[in-house]
Amino acid sequence: MSAVVAEHDHHDEHHDHGPAKGLVRWLITTNHKDIGTLYLLFALAMFFVGGLMALVIRAELFEPGMQFVNPTFFNSMTTMHALVMVFGAVMPAFVGLANWQIPLMIGAPDMALPRLNNMSFWMLVAGVLLLASTLFMEGGAPACGWTFYPPLVLRDCGHALPFAVFSVHMLGVSSIMGAINIIATILNMRAPKMTLMKMPLFVWTWLITAFLLIAIMPVFAGAVTMLLTDKFFATSFFDAAGGGDPVLYQHIFWFFGHPEVYVMILPTFGVASTIIPVFARKPLFGYSSMVYATASIAFLSFIVWAHHMFTVGMPIAGELYFMYATMLIAIPTGVKVFNWTATMWKGAMTFETPMLFSICFVVLFTMGGLTGLMMSVAPTDFQYHDTYFIVAHFHYTLVPASVFILMAAGYFWLPKWTGNMYDERLARFHFWMSAISVNILFFPQHFLGLAGMPRRIPDYAVQFADWNMVSSIGAFIFGFSQLIFLYIVIKTINGGTGEKVTDEVWEDASKHSLEWTLPSPVPYHTWATPPEEVPSEHF
């Protein structure tokens, strides 16, 4: 080795390494910011893939009759749309935000287990690719619904079942490793003065979400493994002919499935609780009640699962228990909604795009929550069960809630991460297009559901034609509006409006959270020495 190189190496030992050069950087990186970026970009790509599948569904439902696809492919699309959006888009997007923000917000130099972090990401990619590969197989992608209910799944999923099951295993391992990493980071790597009750709410919600993930992903992995052995190794967990019970699968699945919906919504609450105080220029109202509300929602999520299956034939005592337990969730959720409102109350509010998305989230999430409360009433749920009403409900809690908050987070933190300002005019245009079209898309589905249109069908009775057409028009406007977001993100990464942002980016943001005290763009390595002071709750 030449002396020059040796000297160069020596020189590097005393300074921070920059990122590795070229594409290899992204393959081998253990830097929390790089991995966060990877997660976010992957999630954005999957958001468009899943969105394309949704547009296939809405195109077919534009009018009654079969127009574009055959029923099996239609069912594949509903199944894959759900799996891709849940496991490929929303969850990874929040893990990406966690990777970027948690170390910055708690004053840690990186995640606790950087190599594991890299492995979590690439395992996710492998899992999603494995799932996507079924689209090109003989027999096609799984067409049995994302819930994989037996006995249908054991007959109808064909060659795709083992691929879907192994993909779930990989996604599960990836999520669990990510969750372990997040817990280790939050519990062990906070700046000395950052006590638990001083942590930003985004960090709190992720800590609780991570515990949920560790508790539920293995149960889901177990359930699909039982499906696999039922299908190929002659076990009879769910096969009635061998003494099993298909209803048992629903219990196990929803023991996972209900907390899973909170995995997607708790970090959403965290981001909203971070953004709203900044633009209201007030501290978050009721910080500790927010923490306790989050913890209560997480606890309650484990004891309400059977409200997904009121119609399977439960004893009346079971129906009543699950009905009242489900209604209880409205209390901590209501605490949150009132706290956000109180945070805005008499605040010096400005309406930059992140705030617009956050306010829209508070309003539309409340609507989604309210329809959830309607369905928690066991006797009326018999009418709503498996209709478009439930589709409208969970899309209101996922799209104008989780997805809008992810957009808000993008607009909120991109200037910090890149040092460039996004195009505010275009961003507001994106907001209004999304906010209006999302309602054109999902609001009519309430009417369709109440009128009795079942979900997961490629064709329908003519009486449902009008609202389906409206919904499909909304879907296409919403889908294409997201290209504006893509354009804004790419433009911001490549210099944005040319205006350089300050370290704070948003007025007085550094009073709220640590990352705004760092330079913009954020250097590749931060908090090599932990910060001396942390923002106080009252300022």
Binding site: I176, I180, V219, G222, A223, A240, G242, G243, F255
Partner: protein
């Protein structure tokens, strides 16, 4: 400092990984838990899977219980399946025999399994079978017709509020499964 945080991390990772593995086991533990729960509460109405010994009860002639019989074929089970009577009035404590018939519609030998349940589920402990084709798998030769008697008794302890008991049989085609095994 770095070392101690490394140790702290290792410990925490092991604990959390253990929780993850334990939860995988918990998923499997839900299977027996569910069966025990169903057994206690009678949720899925499973009656005795093995023959019970015939004991003589004091026949309760003061009331009659209506027993209904349902014969169902799961999906594509290629059988004909019917019963001698769809309903019977019975006295609690007295033994009755009712015939079920099934015929193989195909040229192939079939291995089938009948799964039974009663409704309301909580009557399962009072409905007892001493002879039943559901206690074991049944093999049907091509086009074979079988007469399958079921001998049962409704126990006189049956609470008074139950006036009707429905006994349902579903035949599942296990031919492929039995080859696999």
């Amino acid at each position: 400092m770095i070392d101690s945080s490394g140790q702290k991390n290792t410990r925490l990772v092991w604990i959390l990984a253990f929780v993850g593995i334990a939860m995988f086991g918990f998923g499997y533990a839900l299977v027996p838990l569910y069966n025990v729960l169903c057994d206690i509460t009678g949720i899925n109405g499973k009656t005795n899977a093995q023959a019970v010994k015939e004991v003589v009860y004091q026949v309760d002639k003061s009331r009659e219980v209506k027993v209904e019989f349902l014969t169902t074929l799961n999906e594509s089970t290629p059988l004909l399946f019917w019963t001698q009577a769809t309903t019977m009035k019975v006295y609690p404590g007295q033994y009755y025999t009712v015939n079920f018939y099934a015929k193989n519609k195909t040229e192939k030998t079939l291995v089938v399994r009948a799964i039974d349940s009663v409704s309301p589920g909580l009557t399962k402990d009072y409905f007892k079978k001493t002879v039943c084709f559901c206690f074991s798998q049944q093999t049907f030769k091509p086009h074979e017709l079988k007469t399958m008697p079921v001998r049962f008794v409704v126990s006189p302890d049956l609470p008074k509020q139950y006036k009707t008991i429905t006994l349902s049989y579903t035949f599942f085609d296990n031919t492929e499964l039995s080859v696999k095994k």
